[in-house]
Symmetry: C2
Subunit: 144 residues, 2 copies
């Protein structure tokens, strides 16, 4: 995953500096979403704690490269599960266990495109965040 990021940045002629790389590592370590200030806390564990702006700048970079997504409904960030191709962000957020799945379903994107086009709207960045229950939480959460 990290090496994939290296490759991608080299290809794009942008610099995955140590600091940006550390931020990406922290995000990827966590399997799930992580808040910006938790990233700051993790980075500050050994060394000196970076200022918020530093981490936000790294996050901006990583998002621009498509390596990280922002979850607007959680104010949190998550590593992209398949940074190979360009894609809008589609997420399934389990409110039981907090696990997050990245979808990127073409039919969803197509339906959004059609509906937007019908309104004369040109889509730039579709954002889909679905709250609900994942498979395991759904079964363990059997109705009384």
């Amino acid at each position: 995953m990290l090496s994939e990021a290296e490759r991608r940045c080299a290809e794009r002629q942008v610099r995955l500096t140590p600091q940006r790389r550390r931020v990406l590592e922290v995000i990827a370590d966590r399997h799930g979403a992580i808040g910006a200030y938790e990233i700051i806390a993790r980075l500050g564990e050994g060394r000196s704690r970076p200022a918020p702006i530093s981490v936000y700048r790294a996050l901006d970079f990583l998002m621009a490269q498509g390596l990280v997504h922002r979850l607007a409904s959680l104010n949190a960030f998550i590593a992209c599960s398949g940074p190979d191709r360009a894609h809008g962000a589609q997420f399934l957020i389990c409110r039981g266990c907090g696990v997050i799945g990245e979808l990127n379903d073409a039919s969803v994107e197509a339906a959004i495109g059609r509906a937007a086009a019908a309104a004369g709207f040109a889509v730039a960045a579709p954002l889909v965040e679905v709250t609900g229950l994942c498979r395991s939480c759904r079964t363990s959460d059997a109705p009384a």
Copy 2:
């Protein structure tokens, strides 16, 4: 619109108190999204400025009744354009002029439902916020 809200609250046996009603008025006046602190400022124009928590409580109420939606990607609130039926929130947000359209397209919701079901995920609250350019901004924004 306000009378529709009155009716809906009466039907549900919940109270659209003066304060909640004023918050709804401020949101509806603005055709578009409005931030919580701007609502506070507007409400404080004549009278004494309410505390943030008061407005947030009113917003929670209005959202629970389906009269207002929250736009997670903007940290802002908007009056529901068709509060009659229950619906997930689907929005088209123009980054040119800031105008916001509420979609609620059944095919989009269906596509999300299908994709989620394929992952074993039970949808509770689908959130769709599409950034792009509205019809008029798209034409006026002709490439150089």
